[in-house]
């Protein structure tokens, strides 16, 4: 199991199948760990101190459902 601990402490785990971990569930070699999938973006929120007033911004028009 690959575990990435982000700054705030929330964990993203990438779980390996049992045969990859070995019969006793041992650790996977670090060079065999898979990357985070390409269509997944990981970001971090920044706390604003002091808070800023909400600015009115346009809403995207609703699309018709197919």
């Amino acid at each position: 199991m690959r575990e990435i601990r982000l700054l705030s402490g929330v964990k993203i785990k990438i779980q390996m199948p049992a045969e990859e971990r070995g019969a006793k569930g041992g650790k996977v070699r670090s060079d065999r760990l898979p990357p985070v999938p390409a269509n997944i973006y990981v970001g971090t929120m920044e706390t604003l101190n002091p808070p800023e007033p909400i600015k009115p911004r346009p809403k995207a028009p609703r699309r018709k459902s197919k």
């Binding site: 705030s8 929330v10 390996m16 973006y41 808070p51």
Partner: protein, 152 residues
């Protein structure tokens, strides 16, 4: 006189469509199937008193139907005070094809919630709001010894 056709093209591309915004405690991604498991999904937080800081949490945002690149921003708004408490700096998101799907896992450090009430998690693409998810912070009297416990 020949018939003339003038195409009126919009000057901006349509923003992506938001299919899901979920707030949760932990995520597990399967290495082989790339399936995503979200653990501890919530929309209510309970605290013994206010102001209070939340435990770290994260957000799952799923976007579809985008065309090309977008600058994606996310904010947490305090609806009572009319203020922005936290912001995700712009992420450049690309949809090589219309059928692509993008998933964002946004990590949120401890948020200082000044009072009980409703808060919004708002998603913007190219400075246009595309969707929002409300969550509520409320006082829970029974948890006086677990000040940072979060309701499920």
């Amino acid at each position: 006189m020949p018939f003339q056709v003038t195409a009126i093209m919009p000057d901006t591309k349509p923003p992506p469509v938001c299919k899901a915004i979920l707030l949760f405690d932990q995520v597990i991604i399967d290495a082989i199937s790339e399936r995503i498991s979200l653990i501890g999904i919530f929309d209510v937080l309970g605290f013994s008193s206010f102001p209070h800081e939340t435990q770290p949490f994260a957000a799952y945002v799923e976007l579809v139907d985008g065309i090309g690149k977008y600058a994606l921003t996310i904010e947490v708004n305090d609806l009572q005070a009319g203020t922005i408490l936290a912001r995700q700096p712009a992420i450049e998101l690309e949809f090589p094809e219309r059928v692509n799907k993008a998933v964002l896992l946004i990590n949120c450090a401890r948020l200082h919630l000044p009072q009980e009430g409703a808060y919004d998690f708002v998603v913007f693409a190219d400075n246009q709001e595309i969707d929002r998810q409300k969550f509520v912070a409320r006082t829970v009297q029974a948890w006086t010894d677990q000040g940072d416990s979060e309701d499920a």
